[in-house]
Symmetry: none
Subunit: 353 residues, 2 copies
């Protein structure tokens, strides 16, 4: 059903889609108005130029979305076009107004992303197990629906149908409010001294992860979704003001109730649908903090044909040793662990971390 696809927009999302479709055996063309981004994405995806591909995926900033969707629809009357914008508002109405090929259009929103941006942060598995919102216009053809469904399946996602309006309301709460709280909390750290920030634990790190997001992109998103976002933010602010009052007046039960409601809300979030956990084994290795240590480990991996899926390094300037953790297949983990142990390395194989 899909053997060729063009991705317009070589950012994080577009390039990740490109990698994903490519690994499913589809011929992919990556395009971007920025030639540097286009070049990196084309190298990563091994892009081929295409004309009227089966599928065109528009993955551009929201300010350019409608224009690019209409352009692609009008220039490629035989292609199915999907956009991935995170706010929909009147997109479908506009597209039906401005294109004779609106039957070829389906609006999608994959609930996936990273706080990093650009093609350099892309990964093929970004969408595995993720929910995709699917919004069909009144004119969308059966063929367009089938292609969009197939596209979502190839990406490993599950689709959930919604109206534009419901989508915008829901993402205000599930996506835009979290971004606002993360940024606000992170901004409050500007008043904490660098010394005191040394004691930052996992909570503050997790809650401020999203604060790394692109400010230009997100200010566009917030404004595009203003009408759904402002009432949600207002409610949250008054909820916090309620807690503030309970705190000042020493109302322990009210504070407990505030926390309990949070727990109830948290419990409502369903498990990831069809999430395939990447079943890696993790191999932490204690290394001396001196040049060449990593090269030795990587050379040994190559020597015994062990493939490193991912890795992280933890070390501090004051510490004599560092910890490198390799993510490997289970069999590679056992193989490498035994191999390195024989060489005198301090390895600590584990299945979870």
């Amino acid at each position: 059903m899909i053997s060729t696809a063009r991705i317009v927009g070589a950012g994080l999302i577009g390039t990740s889609i490109g990698l994903c479709l490519k690994s499913a055996g589809i011929k992919v063309e990556m395009v971007d108005v920025d030639s540097n981004s286009a070049q990196l994405a084309q190298d990563l995806v091994k892009s081929t130029p295409l004309s009227e591909p089966d599928l065109i995926v528009v993955a551009v900033p929201i300010s350019a979305n409608q224009k690019v969707v209409v352009e692609q629809l009008n220039a490629n009357p035989n292609s199915i076009v999907c956009d991935l914008a995170s706010v929909k508002s009147d997109l479908l109405v506009k597209v039906e107004e401005l294109s004779d090929n609106a039957k070829n259009f389906i609006s999608l929103h994959p609930m996936a992303g990273r706080e990093l941006s650009g093609a350099q942060s892309a990964r093929a598995d970004l969408f595995i197990g993720r929910a995709w919102v699917l919004i069909t216009g009144s004119k969308s053809s059966e063929k367009a629906k089938l292609v969009a469904d197939s596209f979502i399946k190839i990406c490993g996602g599950s689709s959930y149908q919604m109206s534009s309006a419901e989508h915008d309301l829901t993402v205000a709460k599930l996506s835009h409010l979290p971004q606002i709280l993360s940024s606000s909390l992170a901004a409050s750290l500007l008043e904490v001294s660098e010394d005191n920030l040394n004691i930052s634990g996992q909570g503050i790190r997790d809650l401020t992860r999203l604060a790394n997001s692109d400010s230009k992109l997100w200010s566009e998103i917030f404004l595009a979704n203003q009408s759904s976002l402002t009432p949600a933010l207002e409610k949250l602010i008054s909820h916090l003001q309620g807690l503030q009052k309970s705190l000042v007046s020493n109302k322990k039960e009210e504070i407990e109730d505030f926390l309990k409601k949070g727990r109830e809300g948290k419990d409502k979030i369903p498990g990831k649908h069809g999430a395939k956990s990447r079943n890696y084994a993790f191999l932490p290795i204690v290394i001396d903090d001196k040049p060449g240590q990593l090269a030795i480990i990587f050379n040994e991996c190559a020597k015994i044909a062990v493939n490193i899926e991912d890795l992280s390094i933890e070390h501090s300037p004051g510490q004599e040793t560092g910890l490198i953790t390799l993510a490997l297949s289970e069999s590679d983990c056992i193989k490498l662990s035994e191999h390195l142990e024989k060489l005198g390395f301090k390895v600590h194989p584990t299945k979870n971390r």
Copy 2:
């Protein structure tokens, strides 16, 4: 220096400490007022009854903390006693007032925890790489300081000295505000339909993780730290109100500024173990997914004396290419980029990612 230790309080933190000390070869006694918790922890840790152990760790809810610290100090004049409470307020003053053995007391706070609670959630590695706040009283003996330092090292932590007041102010911002925001955001989900919650992405999941925390424990913590927490919460609320105004009045630049400040704050958080964040240049390199690719790159780095400060790998199963991003000094980045390009590698130097 520490060959025997008693842990008073068999919750998540106390039992994790017990597991950790036990695995370091120390004889451990676990005690708890609740006999079920005590039994589970004793079985887990293989507890032995002890009298006047070298170290006594008090890991009880904040409402019982001062009382238990004083009891243990008075009953065990030859033991060093450490508490782990997350709010200190006038604890040290009170202890000096109520015990003749205040010289044996050191107040600690490990910046670690989980949103789960109880001995069953305990893990020996909970404290590896974590920051510990160390607060010495005016009367604390040299021996007490040495034992506390040794205790923190055994747990794999790094210690940061602070006054009680500074500690309480700092945790209000780094620990208590994140808990409040997480609970508040999670509570707002009570108004979202179960169907619509199906599209929950990683952002809302991460930001509401802490909302699972124990409501009784945390309401005690909030109230104990009321004087530091309320001004911090007030500031955050008015920051959110500022954004609300910018949204309503369509001020794109103000919204961008809000987001940028968040990013700046986020950037201030040091790497784990207190490593200072540095301005690295990043060199993304596209590699084929086969063993030995990383080794080649590391060997070339060693050959031209380029020092790798950090690295990340973006690659997922099934993807034909991978991307390795090296963090380097700017000059090393240029040097390596040119070197690898000559060898035919696809490099894409960039300053931000």
